[in-house]
Amino acid sequence: MITTANPEARALLFDVTRCIGCGACALACKESHGLPGTGEETELDAVTYTVVLDKGDDRYVRKMCMHCLDPSCASACPVGAFTRTALGPVTYEASKCLGCRYCMVACPFGVPRYEWTEVVPQVRKCDGCFERQSRGLQNACAEACPAEATVAGTRAELLAEAHRRLAESPDAYHPVVYGETEVGGTSVFFLSPVSFEQLGLPVVGSQALPELTWASLSKVPSVVGVGGAALAAIYWITHRRQEVAAAEGRGSEEVDHDQR
């Protein structure tokens, strides 16, 4: 299910070299989604969609949903509760959800959170400010950032901007745009002065992970077809042998190989 990225699809660019660790983005996220908390949390949870993590040496990195172009969560969900919208954000529809939590297992970035103490629980994660963006506003986190460490734009624009920064100051950056190819491409990009591993970002290949399960699922029709035909053929042969044996008057109820 490779989605050809809509050139107008929205994305975010986060630049570690610019982040001052103020946490305005996390607080703005809380406020715009009506969630409790201070914006100073250090781990995602059911009411915290993004956090700013202190990685030492004055380096800060955000954690949030990456809004993959081919999202594992959307492919894993048996009822299609996750949608990769044309606008860019990957959204979740709680009314469809049966709570199997395969999305949480499947996400390569460990993002989705669960309402473990709710009687009618939901999966919770960053929704890319889908509602705001539908109204033409930019993401709350990007709007709140005083240092332009998080900026919003179309995916194509931001990718160009990221490469412009890499070309302009090659000494200041690790020469990769994280998210450009990771798991087939994401809608959140990271630029960093050090390797992304040092920032705690997972090392993922460039293959979109839903391809791995699809490799297995796509064989279903052949298993049904070939399996059904093979079993029918075996049935015909074994029962034909029995009929022949009966007709030849051997009177045996079973064919030879059964009597071992």
Binding site: A76, L98, V105, P108, P112, Y235, R260
Partner: protein
């Protein structure tokens, strides 16, 4: 029925334990549905799947795999002499799959939406495919077993129709089982970065299928032995010896395939290494493959019901360790922590297992599940008459 009267007159240890589990389970059930999953489980954002998925679902489905292999042998390959054990095996599978659904009612966050995959399609989801297969297979199992009910009710016409449809049901069951047994492994294809390389392989679906075939046969042996002791029945020893031989082949094929795959991915060294994962792999492989294979290679083991039972039990335990390794141990490294089930999780799992044993005992006392003993089919010495049908698990050797 006398056996039922006996059960209520003399509740034994196992009956008492079951009622204890039911009482504790009832409390836990209330808490789970009024306070959420977090109140009764150690599940967390790091470990969204625990004992209920790892055991009740992954093991439950695998342990019930004996039915599709046996019915395929009898109805497709026309090996009729295994017919006497088809019904108990079908009953085991029917109850096993029903309990998987019961387990899901605890594990799913919104269990009342369990039917959603049937109407809200996502053909790219392995979970979607498994939902459909398990639903359809549950229906197939019920129809396969319905013969026993029709026979009991004396509905001759329904029984005739059911018998005529059986080969078709068996073929459908074999295909559905092949699909979902392997797909339980395919769940984990999407987490190459999280699952330890001792278990992550593109061959996961094949591994799950092969090990399910093996453990299904092992369960037939275990179930026969327990039934024979609990219900004071004879043991179809010649049949079980053949199953034991088939089990040796199935375990051998799975073991060889597993080693070949590890070698191909250059993980054999890691399998022998000093890591926690390697220790769990060795437990799984030693108990589930090497030991039983060594035992089953001896005709003296296959001929002796007790030794055959011991070997089969090892395959079952090794299988359970394997599924828990894939679903829990193998993910702990990447998730940075350990998951140990909470006591209520364990109690619900034990309660569901107990209900399965009790339902089996209940069904066989009302329905023609076991064949009527023919002349010459003398119950094996040592088979004690049942004090309690619930005492299916009462294994004294």
């Amino acid at each position: 029925m006398t056996s039922v009267e006996r059960r209520f007159r003399r509740p034994g240890f196992w009956t008492g334990l079951l009622f204890l589990l039911l009482a504790a389970g009832a409390v836990i059930t209330v808490v789970r549905y009024t306070r959420g999953l977090g109140a009764v489980t150690n599940l967390s954002d790091r470990f969204p799947w625990g004992l209920w998925v790892g055991f009740d679902i992954l093991c439950g489905v695998g342990l019930a795999a004996g039915c599709f292999t046996l019915t395929t042998a009898v109805y497709v390959f026309n090996i009729k002499r295994f017919k006497p054990i088809v019904r108990p095996t079908t009953l085991t599978a029917l109850l096993g799959y029903s309990l998987v659904v019961a387990g899901l009612m605890y594990d799913l966050g919104r269990p009342w939406n369990i039917w959603h995959p049937l109407v809200m399609w996502n053909p790219h989801s392995v979970m979607f495919e498994v939902s459909w297969c398990v639903t359809l297979y549950l229906a197939v199992l019920f129809l396969e077993f319905s013969g026993a009910i029709f026979e009991r009710l004396g509905w001759a016409r329904a029984l005739r129709v059911q018998r005529a449809a059986t080969p078709l049901l068996v073929v459908a069951g074999a295909i559905l089982s092949t699909l979902h047994q392997s797909s339980l492994g395919a769940f984990y294809l999407i987490v190459p970065g999280k699952l330890h390389p001792l278990w992550y392989t593109p061959m996961l679906p094949v591994m799950f299928f092969l090990s399910a075939v093996a453990v299904g046969l092992a369960v037939i042996i275990v179930e026969s032995r327990l039934s024979s002791r609990a219900f004071g029945r004879g043991l179809e020893m010649p049949l079980l010896m053949s199953i034991g031989r088939a089990l040796a082949v199935a375990v051998g094929v799975f073991g060889a395939f597993r080693l070949f795959d590890l070698a191909r991915r250059e993980q054999l060294g890691a399998a022998l290494g000093p890591s926690r994962e390697a220790a769990f792999f060795q437990l799984e492989f030693g108990l589930g493959v090497i030991l039983p294979l060594g035992l089953l290679a001896w005709p003296a083991v296959r001929r002796n019901s007790r030794r055959l039972y011991a070997a089969a039990l090892m395959v079952v335990v090794g299988f359970v360790v394997n599924r828990l390794n894939v679903s829990i141990t193998g993910l702990e490294g990447a998730q940075g922590g350990h998951y140990v089930p909470a006591i209520p999780e364990v109690i619900i799992t034990l309660m569901l297992t107990g209900i399965g044993f009790a339902a089996f005992a209940f069904a066989v006392s009302y329905l023609p599940v076991f064949p009527v003993l023919e002349e010459g089919d003398v119950p094996e010495a040592g088979a004690v008459p049942a004090l309690s049908p619930i005492a299916t698990e009462a294994i004294r050797s």
